[in-house]
Symmetry: C2
Subunit: 241 residues, 2 copies
Amino acid sequence: MKLIASRQNAWFKRLRQAIRDHDAEIVIEGPKAVADAAAGRWHPLARIVREGSPAAADDVVFSAELFDAVAETKATQGVLGLFARPSFTTEALFARHDSVIVALDAVQDPGNVGTILRLAAAFDAAGVITLPGCADPYSPKSIRASAGAILTVPVAALSVPDLLQHARGAGFALYAADAAGSTSPPPPSRAVILLGSEGQGVSPALLSHAQALAIATSDRVESLNVATSAAILLHGSFARR
Amino acid sequence: MKLIASRQNAWFKRLRQAIRDHDAEIVIEGPKAVADAAAGRWHPLARIVREGSPAAADDVVFSAELFDAVAETKATQGVLGLFARPSFTTEALFARHDSVIVALDAVQDPGNVGTILRLAAAFDAAGVITLPGCADPYSPKSIRASAGAILTVPVAALSVPDLLQHARGAGFALYAADAAGSTSPPPPSRAVILLGSEGQGVSPALLSHAQALAIATSDRVESLNVATSAAILLHGSFARR
């Protein structure tokens, strides 16, 4: 265990880049989440510990100043994990025929994406597909909002044509959350539930391939938040399984 | 219309204080929300416009620098409204016997409080009661998350004994969102639905007076976010009316 205190250190640069870009390498915060990720399907690259926090022999120990320069101590409790970004095949998502897949069309707020990941786990969805324009589920803010669900929910980024082709091939029907749709109960299984950006909703190109599902509300609001819509539709789907 | 450019100006100080303290005076952002508030039950004190934005004769016009020192132009579109804080009697909330009241026990995140206000409007709740330890629904962050619902949802702050006394007096049953409760459908009317802080849940003192209501989930998560729980329970209640 060597104490690292230089901003020129390779681990420091790699960690900072992973937090900023969350591309090939992903950062997980907090000792419990880091242990859960390592115990699961995630491939660990390094465990980074803040000077003064309990550390194992092969941990990378950062000085307090260096650690605090990349992460907020309170959320991390002095522990960060650097992992290879997990990857899931689209086939794996469509392999489950006992549940639904959630697909997000240009949901830009990472907090909403993370909250929807948490709902996907809560209501046992097969996975989450992100379509173009969607915030990355592996951003620090989304991971935090997922409250650990990022570790268990399969995620895949797809183009619209690829989504349509996979759904057709696997015999999955498409449903889209849309205020103009029917308020019939959401499908229990073998379906993709599409959720669009607030303001815009699901794009017309996708809507034309989907059955529109509305959530009955009073006329006191114009719309629901996308995570709220996801909660109600996924709960309704789960209740019918 | 005199252009105000000094930080010593009384309107500037009053506005800054209202944004910070949201006590007797409340700030609403954006021309549409300001017009809606003035058209509704809210008592307008001043309309503040950023230099260069369309202004009426009795508007208070701030220099761009002064306006930007108190508010972010994008969210406000150059218009802020200063209003007297609305007040509602507890009796007014309990007067509606065709719906439910939402009560928040130490829900500390203003974004969650605002999201729950929006849900209260969407599912036509009679109002929202905030118990001690709860974030103020009139904070700028909560108002923003409410997406306009702050203008139409009656809100009252109550102590726990006062809530119990009012509920008893009006013949309202208490229900509490609690993972250990029954998954029977939420009550359609004449009930108070209690939601607690994430992590802590509804406090034991309140739970002992309430029927515990759970939301069925998979075992893939430990809990749901409080706004998510509110969405599912209020939607379920609305569906039975």
